[in-house]
Symmetry: C2
């Protein structure tokens, strides 16, 4: 396939599932943060326990006032994945073909070659949607204010991604915009808003990803 930006083969190590579950379930685990970007496609089933272990890792994140304002919805059902694909593509068609994306946004995305085609949402064995609890709910229905929700849930997602990579699984941070359809399809209450959608699975044999470089350390780190 021709690309407008250099692509490289993407074939992360693959481990025996029983081994990787044992490794991740232990107190220490092995991780690679070197490929946190994305896998554009992923196939073949992986055990639900792997996804659960990654959520357990995410669930250890620090959070504002230790309120743990996250919820990970794990979707393996083919029909639900299909509904999510169709709804995401409908929104993305309005973005890409309907002109809803601003020219500036379109330009920022150009080298990633993203389109309204989200077929991978049906190909992957799992979709995990992370929801952020904007506020908590008391048993009597009253609201509990949550603090530093974006920061807390973002960190949890970082731990989730790291755990997946630890196990040799791939993911892609997808934020279909707007994401309200995810609340409806996943039947989430009004205090939760969709934060990031993660397709999860093994990278397909021969998968390619954009050959993105990271900004040099001199632009990421300032000594003081």
């Amino acid at each position: 396939m021709e690309h407008t930006y250099p692509f490289v083969p993407y074939a992360p190590d693959r481990y025996d599932e029983a081994d990787m579950i044992r490794a991740e379930a232990g107190t220490s685990s092995s991780t690679s943060t070197g490929g946190a970007a994305s896998a554009s496609s992923a196939t073949s089933p992986c055990r639900g326990e792997c996804v659960e272990l990654a959520v357990m890792a995410a669930n250890t994140a620090p959070s504002g006032a230790h309120q743990q304002p996250w919820k990970f919805v794990v979707i393996g059902d083919a029909e639900t994945r299909r509904r999510i694909r169709l709804a995401a593509e409908e929104e993305e068609r309005q973005n890409y073909e309907g002109g809803r994306l601003t020219p500036e946004w379109r330009q920022a995305l150009a080298r990633l070659e993203t389109t309204s085609d989200k077929g991978y949402l049906e190909v992957v064995p799992w979709i995990v949607v992370c929801f952020a609890e904007k506020y908590g709910l008391r048993p009597d229905g009253g609201r509990v204010k949550h603090y530093y929700v974006n920061e807390s849930v973002g960190i949890a997602c970082g731990l989730f991604i790291t755990a997946l990579h630890t196990m040799g699984l791939s993911t892609l941070t997808h934020t279909p915009n707007p994401m309200a359809f995810l609340s409806e399809i996943c039947s989430r209450p009004g205090n939760e808003r969709p934060y990031i959608l993660f397709p999860v699975g093994y990278a397909a044999p021969g998968a390619e990803v954009p050959d993105l470089t990271r900004k040099p350390l001199s632009e990421a780190l300032v000594h003081f």
Copy 2:
């Protein structure tokens, strides 16, 4: 010391620094996400390379349109750490003793026993302040819109924390409120806002942390 909430000893494994740098610099590294919460104090120097490696891990995070909207300011200088401590304590005194914290917020924090005393900011060998780039700056001074800044920077912070734990270092996610003083002390431009402050170091011998439990998997994960 008496606590209103159960505390447990906190003594993470300590490794040889040369070994841990080699491990973290390799393509795969070993991590524990089991103790992502906090260490209330930390002492003894650690090499700046360890902190740099953790920033390098953070810098591999995925981000909206791959804009990498983060900046990690690494502060080892004692005088600057002292300035940060004094400014943070001034803000926190207004929060805790001056009544600026709402009763609800105060209640949410009670079991963590946080106070306006931030003496640990002078004890730790390193303070790392993560700034989020609200927008980018073109060479001509024009603004570049950034997408999903909170999500991107949160994930980067998750990778940063994981890398520190991988190396046996401890940190604490601190968000002194308001945080504007950090922009001034760290001389950051107007497009960056303070996101989280991380004191970084080895846990002090005998350090204790609140014996916080995580919410059960049934509250963190929903199968669909």
